[in-house]
Assembly symmetry: C2
Homo-oligomer: 351 residues x 2
């Protein structure tokens, strides 16, 4: 057992505070990782505050983890001590259902094991995430990081925000010659813009904030459309091959569906707490459009994404935090006051 320092929520209403626990004794297929940085995802906040129901307390959030291998089990072949590695939203799955066999562990028929708020395979124990200084993860859920060490903090958000946007862009074959919309410029959206642009698409960013126009262009969008402006929107009617919608707040999906061309798809990666207004069936029928969903990505695809981002020099735009600033970060996230992801420097986590 490895004594581990963390920050945990003791209840839905208590702020996160220091917490000590023991990680499991590493098995022969496990990788032990000293955590260097951990990104802060909206899911962390929702789970810590019990907003989705089902939170197990104490809750140690964090699933955008980067760190250095401190030890490996006897049967671990792909990692060695000192390697830079990442851990995303999953630390395990059943490994035998069809989705797992196909490398789609996020759709495991038996439910994957979340990096936090478990349950652990076999024991059913709660899992504790990346707001901690150490983690033990089975080799097959550990990712290799090819970026240089000085970018490591900026790599952390790729483990959730990066793969969540990369996976649908890949699934729908985004590439050169495609006109691709990204709805929303937050943690996910800013990764979507960078990745879609690197894939060669003509990227159009949709934002409600005129003040984000320059940022959108800097991040790789060829055009920025203020989605509240009906004239700007109308100019793009029926012209998009694909739209990635990263906005979790309820909003009018039709405003974007009508921008798709024949056989175009809009994929949603955010689930609103209350429903979107019902999308118009007519808009789906008249141009054979599709409305789809997508959940993070599989481990194989996450590695592909990390390698793609390293190759294209893509990282996240971040603001670093001390661990004891987490509650302030949550409050700022709720106001969308972050460009574009908070990352905790785990060296600031002390007992």
């Amino acid at each position: 057992m490895t004594p581990t320092l963390a920050y945990a929520a003791r209840s839905a209403t208590s702020p996160l505070s220091p917490f000590s626990f023991e990680r499991r004794t590493p098995g022969e297929r496990d990788v032990s990782i000293d955590i260097l940085h951990c990104g802060v995802c909206h899911s962390d906040l929702h789970t810590a505050r019990g907003e989705w129901g089902g939170t197990l307390f104490p809750c140690v959030p964090g699933h955008e983890i980067v760190g250095r291998v401190s030890a490996v089990g006897r049967l671990v072949s792909r990692f060695k001590m000192g390697d830079l590695v990442g851990v995303g939203c999953m630390v395990d799955s059943c490994q035998h259902c069809q989705p797992c066999t196909d490398g789609l562990e996020q759709y495991c028929d038996n439910g994957f094991t979340g990096t936090y708020n478990g349950p652990e395979q076999g024991t059913g124990a709660n899992t504790y995430g990346g707001y901690s200084n150490h983690i033990v993860v089975r080799e097959s859920f550990v990712l290799r990081i090819a970026h240089t060490e000085d970018r490591l903090a900026e790599v952390a958000p790729l483990l959730c925000a990066g793969i969540t946007t990369y996976s649908p862009l890949r699934q729908w074959n985004v590439g050169p010659g495609h006109k691709v919309g990204i709805v929303g410029l937050g943690g996910l959206g800013h990764m979507g813009v960078k990745i879609a642009a690197a894939m060669g698409a003509h990227v159009v960013l949709f934002t409600t904030s005129p003040g984000k126009r320059e940022d959108g262009l800097r991040l790789g969008a060829r055009e920025v459309v203020v989605s509240k402006n009906a004239d700007e929107m109308a100019a793009h009617a029926g012209s998009f091959d694909f739209i990635l919608n990263t906005v979790a707040a309820p909003h009018d999906l039709d405003a974007f569906l009508v921008l798709l061309k024949l056989d175009g798809t809009m994929t949603l990666v955010g689930a609103p707490a209350s429903p979107h207004p019902s999308p118009g069936v007519f808009n789906l029928i008249m141009k054979r459009r599709r409305l789809a969903g997508s959940l993070i990505g599989g481990i194989r695809e996450t590695q592909e994404m990390l390698d793609f981002c390293a190759h294209h020099g893509i990282v996240s735009d971040i603001e670093t935090l001390r661990m004891d600033q987490i509650e302030t970060a949550y409050e700022r996230m709720l106001k969308s006051d972050v460009r574009y992801r908070f990352v905790i420097d785990m060296a600031t986590l002390t007992a």
Copy 2:
């Protein structure tokens, strides 16, 4: 000009009644057709009664037309006098946009010409449909009928109900080894069951009417699920490759979305007058499901569907009508009191 007898609505509130007009003088690429039978589609009723807005009066509905060629223009090469032919929902389109070039005239960028309620290409004149004894149609929108003449009345509904269900089943590659749901057993649904079964799929019919169970099995379904029965529904969770939803009345789409497996698609072919309850985004995200729409089918695909149905001995289950019974038929359609399509015997249309 060809004097033509028809039944028309003079206004949204007047019952259909006899109407005389002249069809255009056939051009060198036109086919003149004596109409033998015409199916009765819900769209006929909605348009005649002005329920969708935009109805041009007088309105002669009817877009499930079968008949015999009475004359052909000088440049017509594929048809000759005496041939059995069909005309569906479209009689023209721009013929030069990308969808038209791709054989997807139903998605014509410039708007196809409906068989009724036009506007005619070039002139902008209103078009009059199949509740008439004669029609003139450009060759490229005329379909060849390979069924035997004695089945002709039963073929008529293939021109709309048949292609509207065939097209999405083909688009989503339904075939042997697939589990396919058909929601609703009406004019469209009963064709969907027959066609999907002939494509080799394991077909499950969803109906709200326990009384339709035997019919569903007779038509080709391997299982019939009464969709109001939560236990029956739950037994099929996450198991469908594809669901074709033919129900136009607002209903809970989530009840069917959760029955799709990973990467499964539900295609809607009915547009409700008021919105469906908003589908849950979570159901789309958790198994990367898709909600799609589809509109009739292109001319090339309609010919393929007719040939497929002739090859497999598929026709519609119909009840024949005299032309002067049309208002009674509409009233019965509104009560879903038809198994499963009304077809007008055009020999009963007299001045």
